[in-house]
């Protein structure tokens, strides 16, 4: 009979400790080195934007990756985080970074009723509800102009008034880097936890998970709130960095679509998938912005790419590449030996005979 340590190797594809840690080390070095390597402040500011995407995609993956619920509304949660941060500073006079934290808590609290309504429906219906959330918030923030500034925008005071631009970018690059590592560590912790296993069971078969005793609704709601809090932190940090919020950009379905594209492209079952997707798509977006400006081309390309990824790489690039490497390395040999019922019967018979003789 096999013992539990065999099972650890075979039964649980525990992602292993070394690969994620090695990747974390690489990521930390890359984040630490990038600002000094960036040739000019423009590239550095693009780096901040890409890291913002990486945090957003990783935050989204708490819901999308674990439970399989595809939210197109996460852009709006970031927008809420941004506006809450800005308003707490301008209207309530709270210090910038305290405002950022309080805003994240407020958005997390707001995520409870939002999740309560949205997580009752599954599949395509959930996607549509998440889009509705964005559109409703866009309307609210545009028309409630006495508070939000409406279409004129909301100016958020800089947290470091005297600081020069390049230094400002550098500081925020590191702040985003820290937030990204925190989000990744939390995702990793959940991924290996019993709670995480329950969430993944929801992704596989929600009714079955319920019937095995998992309180699926409470699980979904909890992870949605965690996801919203990280998303709001990214949005709030963006408000502090960029200093100007416009409802059209903060509450845009396009933002949510980019996040989904990044996560799916990189791979939602992998800790670093969304980061990888954010780097690829985020860099491409910055490039296109320079080459073509803001055009409907973005929308078309995003839609097209999303379709291609869903059809040809449902698990994203990391597993696709991993699978390729594995095939090259192992040749034809498959990683798991499958047994037919006949093999099984034969083996049982041998065991019985072995036991009786």
């Amino acid at each position: 009979m096999p013992n539990a340590s065999d099972a650890t190797a075979a039964g649980l594809r525990a992602p292993g400790k070394w690969l994620p840690l090695g990747a974390a080390g690489l990521l930390i070095v890359a984040i630490a080195a990038f600002p000094s390597l960036a040739p000019n402040p423009y590239i550095l500011s693009s780096g901040v934007i890409v890291l913002n995407w990486a945090v957003l995609a990783t935050s989204w993956n708490f819901v999308g990756g674990f439970t399989g619920y595809i939210s197109l509304g996460h852009g709006a949660l970031a927008g809420l985080g941004g506006y809450a941060t800005g308003l707490l500073i301008t209207k309530a006079g709270i210090p910038s970074f305290v405002a950022l934290l309080v805003a994240a808590l407020l958005v997390a609290a707001l995520a409870v009723p939002i999740g309560f309504a949205a997580l009752r429906v599954r599949g395509a219906s959930f996607v549509i509800v998440s889009i509705a959330l964005v559109l409703i918030l866009l309307l609210v923030f545009q028309s409630w102009s006495s508070v939000t500034g409406g279409s004129r925008g909301l100016v958020v005071p800089r947290p470091f008034p005297g600081m020069l631009r390049p230094e400002h970018h550098r500081v925020f690059f590191f702040l985003y880097g820290g937030l990204l590592l925190l989000a990744l560590a939390t995702w990793w912790l959940l991924d290996r936890s019993r709670f995480g296993l329950g969430l993944k069971a929801i992704r596989e078969d929600e009714d079955k998970a319920e019937s095995l005793g998992t309180p699926t609704f409470a699980y979904k709601l909890t992870v949605f709130v965690v996801s919203a809090a990280f998303t709001a932190l990214a949005g709030g940090l963006y408000a502090l960095w960029f200093g100007d919020l416009d409802p059209v950009f903060q509450f845009s379905v396009l933002t949510g679509s980019y996040i989904v594209l990044m996560a799916l492209l990189g791979g939602v079952r992998n800790l670093y998938g969304p980061v990888l997707g954010a780097i690829v798509v985020g860099v491409a977006l910055e490039y296109f912005k320079v080459e073509f400006g803001n055009s409907p081309l973005h929308l078309v390309t995003t839609g097209l790419l999303l379709g291609l990824v869903v059809m040809f790489m449902p698990d994203g690039v990391i597993p696709s590449l991993g699978g390729l490497v594995q095939r090259l390395r192992k040749g034809e040999q498959s990683s798991i030996r499958e047994m037919t019922a006949a093999d099984l019967a034969e083996q049982r018979k041998r065991e019985r005979e072995g036991a009786s003789s």
Binding site: M1, N3, R192, R194, E204, D207, K208, S211, L212, T214
Partner: protein
């Protein structure tokens, strides 16, 4: 604990699937629920386990009223079930499938590692008991139908339910496996677990059950020990479609 329903009713549009069923399943026994196709057996399971809310009537388990409660509440009350079209988590390994049945108490407990040794050993011992331990590392979707049925049962057992509802455990399995399932149910029952089994294979039903309830058009038409049921004319009538 006794599982009873009173006046249970469920209609889908115009189709009355359960029609005021009063049923009692006895603790510590292997109970069977038989009846022609479409007589409402699966719907009855779904109403009892909370997958479907009944239109009327009550479901009582021991001294707890489980009517209309969520499936996870019913599961935690000690009633486990399998599905007619066997359901496993296709992209999890067999071991993960079984571990997924572990029910974290609070959130803090839920943050503990799913890889804990004691739980893994317990999960593995269920796989071993069902004879599929060699597949611990295989994804469920790569397993054969029979192996998936065994895996589903292992998952249910992991949650340590006192009462287990099986919906057609012998459906689509080969004769060797059929024997094994029969023996297994008997052994698990001897260890104190109560069973309610929906099954079409009459040889299996007659050989393993202590108490049989016969359904026809959404309500019980007979109940008793196998010998009695075998001789009952109403049962023969229902099966012959009179």
């Amino acid at each position: 604990m006794t599982l009873t329903t009173h006046g249970l009713r469920k209609a889908f549009g115009g189709v009355v699937a359960i029609d005021g069923a009063d049923v009692e399943f006895r603790p510590g026994q292997v109970n069977a629920l038989i009846g022609p196709n479409g007589s409402g057996k699966t719907t009855f399971f779904n109403c009892v386990t909370g997958m479907i809310k009944p239109d009327a009537g009550t479901v009582v388990y021991g001294d707890r009223d489980l009517t209309g409660r969520a499936p996870h509440v019913v599961a935690r009350a000690g009633v486990g079930r399998t599905f007619q079209l066997c359901r496993v988590f296709p992209r999890m390994t067999a071991l993960e499938n079984v571990l997924a049945a572990v029910r974290p108490g609070g959130l803090l407990l839920g943050l503990r590692s799913a890889h804990r040794r004691s739980e893994q050993e317990r999960a593995l011992s269920w796989l071993t008991r069902l004879g599929i331990e060699h597949l611990a590392g295989a994804e469920a979707r790569t397993m054969s139908w029979g192996q998936q049925k065994l895996l589903e049962l292992a998952g249910v057992l992991m949650a340590e339910p006192a009462t287990i509802l099986l919906d057609e455990p012998a459906g689509g399995v080969n004769p060797a496996l059929l024997d094994r399932i029969g023996t297994l149910v008997r052994e698990l029952n001897a260890e104190g677990r109560t069973f309610v089994i929906v099954e079409h294979n009459m040889d299996l039903v007659m050989s393993i059950s202590d108490h049989i309830v016969v359904f026809d058009r959404g309500r019980p038409i007979a109940a008793g020990p196998p010998a009695e049921i075998r001789a009952d004319e109403r049962v023969l009538g229902a099966y012959l479609g009179v």
